[in-house]
């Protein structure tokens, strides 16, 4: 069973503080993704990675950094958190071996920036 684990499940941060969201996958997938989910917007891609050491900007990267130190781990970093970054964040890993990439999602991190 594909497994993507996110931590923490909930986080409250202060404006201007640094926040790190962590994601671990045991699927041995090369591709990993960070999305945020907001009402009325569906899921929007922040950063993604094709493998250890690589990070790429997605559709809404401003205010976020990403780090992929290993195949299993992919972190999202908010250096200076703002209230507009209050959202639910999902990590996913991708399996493209059958052609169409299937995404496997974690359970999400609910971030509140006060």
């Amino acid at each position: 069973e594909a497994a993507v684990t996110q931590s923490p499940r909930n986080k409250v941060a202060v404006t201007g503080g640094k926040v790190t969201l962590s994601c671990n996958q045991t699927n041995n997938h090369n591709n990993m993704y960070w999305y945020r989910q907001d009402t009325g917007h569906g899921l929007r891609l922040i950063h993604y990675s094709y493998g250890a050491g690589s990070t790429e900007k997605g559709d809404i990267p401003d205010g976020y950094k990403a780090s992929r130190p290993s195949q299993e781990n992919f972190s999202l970093i908010l250096e200076l958190a703002t209230p507009s970054q209050t959202s639910v964040y999902f990590c996913a890993s991708g399996d493209a071996r059958t052609g169409a990439e299937t995404l496997y999602f974690g359970s999400g991190t609910r971030l509140t920036v006060l």
């Binding site: 993704y33 899921l43 996913a92 169409a100 995404l103």
Partner: protein, 112 residues
């Protein structure tokens, strides 16, 4: 540019009734199409996917979807819904690589 439209933000059906959730896509190439389901406080889970062959694809828990190139649609169906099907359903288009476009989701409420 590719896009996915789910015209119904909210659908309510009675338990045991049939269900159709609508999805329209816009993409000039050959689409890879998916339906995912999101239960409360959980991530998205794959229901089914289509990229070639029989336009009717079967998924988990009795769900199926029909691809129509002429209508640019990929509607999700179920013959008889159960209360546990209450969730948010996302239609998703993959245009290759990281270009995955999510619809805005349809919240399904199954009433007793």
């Amino acid at each position: 540019a590719q896009s996915v439209t789910q015209p119904d933000a909210r659908v309510t059906v009675s338990e045991g009734a049939s269900l159709q959730l609508r999805c329209k896509y816009s993409y000039s190439g050959t689409p890879y199409l998916f339906w995912y389901v999101q239960y409360p406080r959980q991530g998205l889970q794959l229901l089914l996917k289509y990229y070639s062959g029989d336009p009717v694809v079967q998924g988990v828990n009795g769900f199926e979807a029909e691809f129509s190139k002429s209508n640019s649609s990929f509607h999700l169906r179920k013959a008889s819904v159960h209360w546990s099907d209450s969730a948010v359903y996302f239609c998703v288009l993959s245009a290759g690589g990281y270009k995955v476009v999510f619809g805005s989701g349809t919240r399904l409420l199954v009433s007793p």
